[in-house]
Point group: C2
Chain length 344, copies 2
Amino acid sequence: MLTERQLFLFKVLVNDYIRSAEPIGSRTIAKRYDVKYSPATIRNELADLEEMGFLEKTHSSSGRVPSQKGYRYYVDHLLSPALLSKDEILNIKRAIQDKYYELEKVTQETANILSEFTHYTSIVLGPEVLTTKLKHMQIVMLSRETAVLIIITNTGHVENRTIKLPEGLDARKVEMLVNILNDRLQGTPLFKLKNALDSEIKNVLRQHLSEYERIIEMLNDALEYHPVDHIYFSGKTNILSQPEFKDIDKVLPILNALENKDIVYELLRPSGEDGIHIKIGEENAMREIKDCSVITASYSIGGEHMGTVAVIGPTRMAYPKVVTLMELVTNSLSELLTKRYQDA
Amino acid sequence: MLTERQLFLFKVLVNDYIRSAEPIGSRTIAKRYDVKYSPATIRNELADLEEMGFLEKTHSSSGRVPSQKGYRYYVDHLLSPALLSKDEILNIKRAIQDKYYELEKVTQETANILSEFTHYTSIVLGPEVLTTKLKHMQIVMLSRETAVLIIITNTGHVENRTIKLPEGLDARKVEMLVNILNDRLQGTPLFKLKNALDSEIKNVLRQHLSEYERIIEMLNDALEYHPVDHIYFSGKTNILSQPEFKDIDKVLPILNALENKDIVYELLRPSGEDGIHIKIGEENAMREIKDCSVITASYSIGGEHMGTVAVIGPTRMAYPKVVTLMELVTNSLSELLTKRYQDA
DNA sequence: TGTTAGCACTCTAAATGCCCGAGTGCTAAT
DNA sequence: ATTAGCACTCGGGCATTTAGAGTGCTAACA
């Protein structure tokens, strides 16, 4: 579809724009990278590329800028991995090491690294409920009718909910029940917890308690998993340093979107298969970040999907570098987590 | 010190500037509020006020603007409480009601209300460790040498730490120990927990365990309270809408400061007595927010200090409204918490 | 003696005009 | 097919102007 020369010029232009954030024209290309074509030839090619929708002009006599379609083509066909220096690789690998016991800290540190190395905003979706298993469950009464339900997973993560007991329900019965559940449900993946509760345990409970239905209802409510509680950020304000976001009005909707965890979750929602996904501009679910690109990648334990890491930056993003970095980071993270939790 | 007329003009000027964010001069004052003095007279008075340090000019022929000292004088001597409409009061009181069981949600909701009504950034320091008591403590083993220590307070708050057991320490012994501690320490205020651990319990433990020293050390580490884990924000980006922060460079250090929990905690650190405190511009601990004012107020349970709420805005802040609002909010919150946890 | 009118001056912000540079499209020559 | 040449366009930078709001100071006034 594209000639060799068009491809070359397109790539040169995109790379230059990613670096400089300035529209770039035929003369500059001819000068800056001593290509063997004259400005006029380049002009013709650029005009063709624009007609095909890969480039845009910011005004009638300006240089060209990649269009959204252009970026899409770039990442789909022209993305060559960036090289990281040995030092960088070493630093990253060392940072994602057995430095922290708590999974939360590891997750946060991962986010920190991503934002530090990219200068964009990074987001990490904490280890998903999907593959974490119940280690221990306990209920602690606070008062006659309120209690805290605590769930500890095999990854050391602690969930807790304050719940209100149905009126007239004996606290001791509830405690007894939870003890039973604790025995029975240990090792159950969290996402199966509600089902397990409903089916497998029903019979056991019936023997012990008459009010089991109300209790199950209550527990069902409490066991609802809220992924929004497990989002880690870093470099939230990095976007402000990008030249295309130098005026407040451009940046305000983006920052606001980042403050809203539901929106963020929507943006990162796993889109099917694992691996690296790139959403450019308006390809994203949310209108607010139509001038941004989101790159997501997933990490795993022993091959099982555990969570997602993401980087948000301008559409003019250093795609090669970010992609390479994310591969390295997710691999390191997966390795660490697998080593630590595979058989826990 | 100030004449009646100076006082009046000063107050008019500050109020106008708070509203409009524009430097204001003698003629405008004479026009806008039909005062009975001529611009020339007002000019003279303003010159005097400037000489005394209450006002400043942005350039040699500009109108006047309150200085930091001016704001200080304003809040110390001229602050008249704003009137909230019955609707507003009702809305706020209703919002801080028994809507949520979980203390975290109540706290977050409080922050939301504050930022919503002020259009500034609000911060709430969660119920402090100082007056919350241990309800239940438990250790759950994750693997041979890692475990989660869980602490539940009488306010329904759950703290958890992942800890690494000293090598060669028997997990069952640790569990036994924690059970004992659980019995003995129930009702101890969290801030006394480390002491209690050290003194009162020592003897009991010696009888049960030989390795008690290493265990105590481990628990001591784990029981360290990290106030930075209990900060709730709302309206982080509101500052961006203020005219004085329309350029990125002004706003970046502020947003960055808000992302750093240590800095935030430093800014809100309780300054002695309860009640409302106002820190203006450079009075604040952190250089980064020298163009902002921070208003803090505390809430309590049965008179005992529990936490702090704060609002951060430009020095040109609507002090009367914010102060009134914060009084209302902290009172409502104290009331709710007292009702709920007083005798728990 | 406190207040006011008048005046010359200052500074900012917005509008205006001008030019330069980088770019374009088109045509004709190579 | 490529390139040189040319007329044209647009944005950004720069100086200039103008209007508006303000000031300080002095002299006149009640």
